[in-house]
């Protein structure tokens, strides 16, 4: 069956309208197929998946403690190996909080051991499940419920892909809900690789970003088109490939559409543009490319 026809997510999930995390899961599962077990640490998806006795995901799921994505998957893989099942893919599906922050130790441990699994972080740039609190993935300039008023976040977003790449894992990639073919290609590619694989999926959140639900995909696309969230892959921690290049928008056009950035001045936006340019040039250098 063609991936595009295969539907491993049911309707009736309880994600908000326009939820990027929900779109991300749907495309991910299409490319992954049913021969997989998913570890799902606490995040919006713990709820989206539906309450007992329902499940909106048609593969086996172990709901897990918030910070255990890397560790629980380690055990699942070991048990499958002991059962002689080397075909089933083990996947962890976690939010940015569960990946960048509280689950980082377990993730780092798992990939240092080069555990044979795919770790997907869907990134909505805050703790959404608990009500939009800041995480280390929240970008510079953002309002959250714990960075309010003039205390908007004045620290940069952690570069999680580079942190994973520093572990020299076999495959790391970024993906975005607005680029489903690219996302599914990366999932299939990851599936064929052995060892630890990491996919960082940009997943807009209308509720937390203060954007209309119908703008969810457009804004996610603009994150790539501004170079804020470049699409790229890194193999064996060294071989960089940038998948999408032409810049189509300035950072301010992306920021102006979102309520979470409403308070920023022109000077703030100029400063952010500089940061984004700097990061982009760094990535180009790593990929051995020119602007």
């Amino acid at each position: 069956m063609e991936a595009a026809d295969r539907e491993l997510m049911c309707s009736g999930h309880v994600g908000c309208p326009g939820c990027g995390a929900t779109i991300a899961m749907r495309f991910f599962l299409k490319a992954l197929g049913e021969k997989a077990v998913m570890v799902l640490p606490a995040c919006c998806w713990s709820v989206i998946a539906g309450p007992f006795p329902q499940s909106s995901i048609k593969i086996p799921v172990i709901h897990a403690a918030f910070e255990t994505g890397g560790a629980t998957a380690t055990g699942v893989r070991a048990a499958l190996d002991m059962r002689g099942d080397t075909e089933t893919t083990v996947v962890t599906w976690a939010g940015d909080g569960g990946t960048f922050d509280i689950g980082f130790q377990a993730l780092s441990g798992a990939v240092e051991r080069n555990e044979d699994f795919i770790y997907v972080c869907y990134d909505n740039e805050a703790y959404m499940n608990t009500g939009i609190q800041r995480s280390s993935s929240t970008p510079y300039g953002a309002w959250t419920t714990t960075t309010t008023g003039s205390d908007w976040k004045k620290l940069r977003k952690k570069n999680i892909v580079e942190a994973l790449v520093a572990h020299r894992i076999p495959y790391a990639a970024t993906a975005n809900i607005a680029f489903p073919e690219d996302l599914m290609r990366k999932v299939k590619k990851a599936k064929a690789v052995k060892g630890s694989r990491f996919i960082h999926v940009f997943a807009s959140c209308p509720t937390g970003w203060r954007i209309p639900s119908e703008m969810s995909v457009k804004i996610a696309r603009m994150a790539v088109q501004t170079n804020i969230f470049p699409l790229y892959e890194v193999e064996d921690g060294v071989r960089y490939t940038i998948n999408y290049k032409p810049r189509e928008y300035l950072v301010r056009e992306y920021f102006k559409l979102q309520g979470r950035f409403r308070h920023l001045s022109d000077a703030d936006l100029d400063a952010i543009q500089e940061m984004v340019d700097e990061d982009w040039h760094l990535l180009l250098r790593k990929a051995g490319e020119r602007a």
Binding site: V39, G75, A79
Partner: protein, 390 residues
């Protein structure tokens, strides 16, 4: 076959004989020997298992939860800080009804850093839904580890086999190591009632609303109660396989006793010697060893202590603000039982300090002199402390 082995090795031999498939551990003194031996067994091919060298105890328990959910037998060992770090995951394991077995080497909690024997670590996990067995010697440790798998896999609850730091973990004793055939007869391969499977996908441990949560918890509680009903029958099977059984509690000369010492762990061995001497002097004293702590064997305790006017509970632990934890449990068990009695809680031996025969004699002297002590909770063996300048 009898061999002289360390308590830690007794655990490891049981794990090998149980044909555990996934082991995960993170080093902490005094648990280390157990997992070093097992790592070696796995690398030599003496065990067909995966040994997961995780980066923390927290990840260790998470990994076992993942593995056991996929239907394999698992094991870990830890102590003190390591067990405390696992706390959240202990609830996950029992709530998911996973029969994981761990060896818990009783060690004090910091600060100050103290690697010696103390029960505060395991007793702090009292309410996590894990069975707890307190062992007296290395033979009991080996047998109980095998027994723990059998019981855990019958009721689908995890189990902690508890052994005193150094007094047991690092002490050499002759231990009868049963043959693989005998063990296989007592402990068949793990056939889980449920496991995750890509052919029949479902979700484990999902969001549960108030509509169903309470029933799930009630089933856990009922499973704990089932243990009390199953225990003797399963021990009978163990007796047939290995020729040994221990009981949830062991009442030693309690029948006519005027004073009974309630003990757990290695202190029981000291109490046995003390008891013998006192009995020779004609003193009517008994010892009640409590092995099973969760579920708590209320009926057995009541039966053993029926008509005993003075009960002394020796606790190598403390719940600050109330006293020894075994003492609390014994008092709770005796509540609503008709009859007059005094229950004295004695806290002794914290942080690995010796609990000697002399100390037990002193306690005996105190409780038999006149009406006995006024206080119900007494710290024993304290030295003078000067609080410079306060």
């Amino acid at each position: 076959m009898k061999r002289v082995v360390e308590g830690s090795q007794a655990v490891a031999e049981a794990v090998r004989l149980a044909k555990v498939q996934v082991i995960s551990a993170y080093p902490i003194t005094p648990q280390t020997h157990i997992v070093e031996i097992l790592a070696d067994y796995v690398s030599q091919g003496r065990m067909k298992a995966r040994f997961l060298r995780v980066e923390s105890e927290h990840s260790c328990m998470a990994a076992l939860i993942g593995a056991q959910s996929m239907g394999v037998r698992t094991f870990t060992a830890t102590s003190s800080q390591g067990l405390a770090l696992m706390h959240e995951l202990l609830h996950w394991a029992s709530g998911a009804r996973l029969p994981i077995v761990m060896a818990e080497v009783n060690r004090a909690l910091a600060p100050g850093w103290n690697i010696w024997s103390d029960q505060s670590d395991s007793l702090s996990q009292r309410d996590t839904g894990w069975m707890q067995f307190y062992c007296e010697d290395s033979q009991e440790v080996l047998d109980t580890t095998l027994f723990a798998y059998r019981l855990a896999e019958t009721v689908y609850l995890p189990a902690m086999v508890v052994l005193d730091a150094f007094f047991l973990s690092h002490t050499y004793e002759p231990v009868d190591i049963p043959s693989q055939e005998d063990v296989d007869r007592f402990l068949p391969p793990y056939e889980p009632a449920f496991q995750l499977d890509t052919k029949h996908p479902y979700a484990l441990s999902p969001l549960v609303t108030p509509n169903a949560y309470m029933e799930m918890r009630h089933e856990m509680s009922a499973a704990m109660e089932d243990v009390l009903g199953l225990y003797d029958g399963l021990e009978e099977e163990m007796f047939r396989a290995f020729g040994r059984r221990y009981g949830m509690v062991e009442a030693i000369e309690c029948r006519d006793a005027r004073v009974v010492f309630v003990t757990s762990g290695t202190v029981t061995s000291t109490a046995r010697i003390f008891l013998k001497k006192l009995r020779e002097r004609g003193e009517k004293v008994g010892v009640l060893k409590v092995k099973l702590f969760r579920p708590f064997p209320t009926e057995e305790v009541r039966r053993a202590l029926a008509g005993v006017p003075k009960v002394v509970v020796v606790d190598r632990n403390c719940s600050f603000g109330l006293g020894g934890i075994f003492a609390q449990e014994i008092r709770a068990a005796l509540c609503n039982v008709p009859g007059e009695r005094r229950v004295y809680g004695y806290i002794a031996g914290l942080g690995g300090r010796d609990i000697t025969e002399e100390l037990l004699e002193e306690i005996y002297g105190e409780v038999t002199e006149g009406k006995g002590p006024e206080r119900e909770n007494i710290w024993k063996g304290l030295q003078e402390v000067s609080h410079g300048g306060r």
